[in-house]
Amino acid sequence: MPFHQPTPNSSDRDIINNLLQDGINRKKGEEQLFSQYAYFIEQAIHKYSFQEDEAFNIYADTIIAAIARIINHCFEGRSSLKTWLYQIFHNKCVDLVRKKTTNKDSVNHALSISAMFMQMADTAKSVIQEMMERTDRELVKQKLKEIGENCRQLLMQWAEGFSDKEIAATMEYKTADVVKTSRLRCLEKLKQLYKKDKISSIG
């Protein structure tokens, strides 16, 4: 019996087509996708007793992740856009619930850069600050897109302040140690890509 793959409905197709284009159409697609299922936010507020900003952040992150996957042709269309999106959203909601119950203090409390600087001696601090100001942030952003979706997700969770243990639970890694090794490898990969471009731009 042949495997039946559902074809996306016209509204899904419209959104995906727009997202796969550049410029205004991409932007339009992003807005369409966000607005189409924005009612998930309200559902999460009622279902999980989230604050509105918590539910919004989860939904926005869902949309950002979904857009990246669609653009990279990782959405296979095996289910409708709604089902697929809800699955991502639901997983993120469950993660937040889990994090809230296990480690209330660490939720969404990234160790800010200023807090990281606080522990540094003044001489070292000024050297680093000067170097950070020279960092080509646009190039870092650009290279982030080249390290692969999994790496990007890992670094995003890290930048948001989640521990390796929490990331392991969210992204289905076996242990926190595996997360740490993979994350540092991603960081190293990003650094090499950045350096390579930086050197060629100088040369």
């Binding site: 966000f34 200023s114 540094m120 001696a121 950070m132 942030r137 870092v140 952003k141 960081l187």
Partner: protein, 246 residues
């Protein structure tokens, strides 16, 4: 242990005091290592900022979505049940409120436009040779390079969360760029610094609401301006003038 891991153990405070000192000395003497530390921190900052910007972008879409949704809800629940009466009342109310809103909104927006034009076209720069990040941001602003100025102030605000000036200017540039939600966010943060001698946070917050001019903004702006007058805050004179005109 490679450098990235070593750097991380430092920021996770897993090093002994001696090794911590060693780490900091290495920053001062080994530029390649220092570059790696700077890259580690910059990357974390760039990603966090990008996430914030992405969410900010969707926040505006969400606000529009909510407004549209509440209108839809009103329509389905009330208008469907009492539609003939509602239709008649809506026409009448529409004429009255529409007329009223048209005049009041255009005048409050005009007041805000005028203030922005008079006060936020150029910002004062300190005279002197020292070029710090804040001054660099102000120069960019005065040269009309608003996007770059905003980036500069946002980085400063992020690097040093207690930087009141950076937040104030980030708010002002966002206001000039028409990024009202972002401006409100910065000015609200500014309002919370209660120990400041002169804090324009509340006044600028009201000003931004007047510029944004969404339903309910004028009323909230009015309340904020009343608080500015009552508590003798920065912007009191303008607040009094505007409240008299309303």
């Amino acid at each position: 242990m490679d450098n990235m891991e070593y750097i991380e153990t430092y920021f996770n405070e897993e090093l002994s005091p001696e090794r911590k000192k060693e780490f900091e000395q290495r920053i001062a003497t080994d530029p390649v290592f220092a570059e790696e530390v700077a890259f580690y921190l910059s990357t974390k900052q760039v990603i966090a900022m990008e996430m914030m910007e992405d969410r900010e972008r969707f926040k505006e879409i969400y606000t529009e979505y909510k407004q549209g949704n509440s209108l839809k809800r009103q329509k389905t629940s009330l208008v469907r049940k009492l539609w003939p009466w509602a239709a008649a009342a809506a026409v009448l109310a529409g004429i009255i409120f529409g007329w009223n809103a048209w005049f009041s909104s255009s005048s409050t927006k005009e007041l805000a436009d005028k203030f922005v034009e008079q006060n936020f076209q150029t910002l004062p720069v300190t005279m002197g040779n020292k070029e710090d990040s804040l001054q660099a941001g102000l120069h960019l602003f005065n040269e009309g390079r608003l996007e770059e100025a905003l980036k500069q102030f946002e980085i400063m605000a992020m690097n040093d969360e207690s930087s009141v000036e950076a937040k104030k200017y980030a708010g002002i540039v966002s206001l000039r760029l028409g990024q009202y939600d972002k401006a409100i966010n910065y000015f609200s943060q500014l309002e919370n610094y209660t120990r400041l001698y002169a804090n324009p946070g509340k006044f600028y917050h009201a000003l931004t609401l007047m510029k944004r001019n969404r339903p309910g903004d004028t009323e909230t702006a009015k309340q904020l301006l009343r608080q500015v007058v009552e508590n003798n805050l920065v912007g009191k004179e303008d607040a009094e003038k505007w409240l008299r005109k309303w």
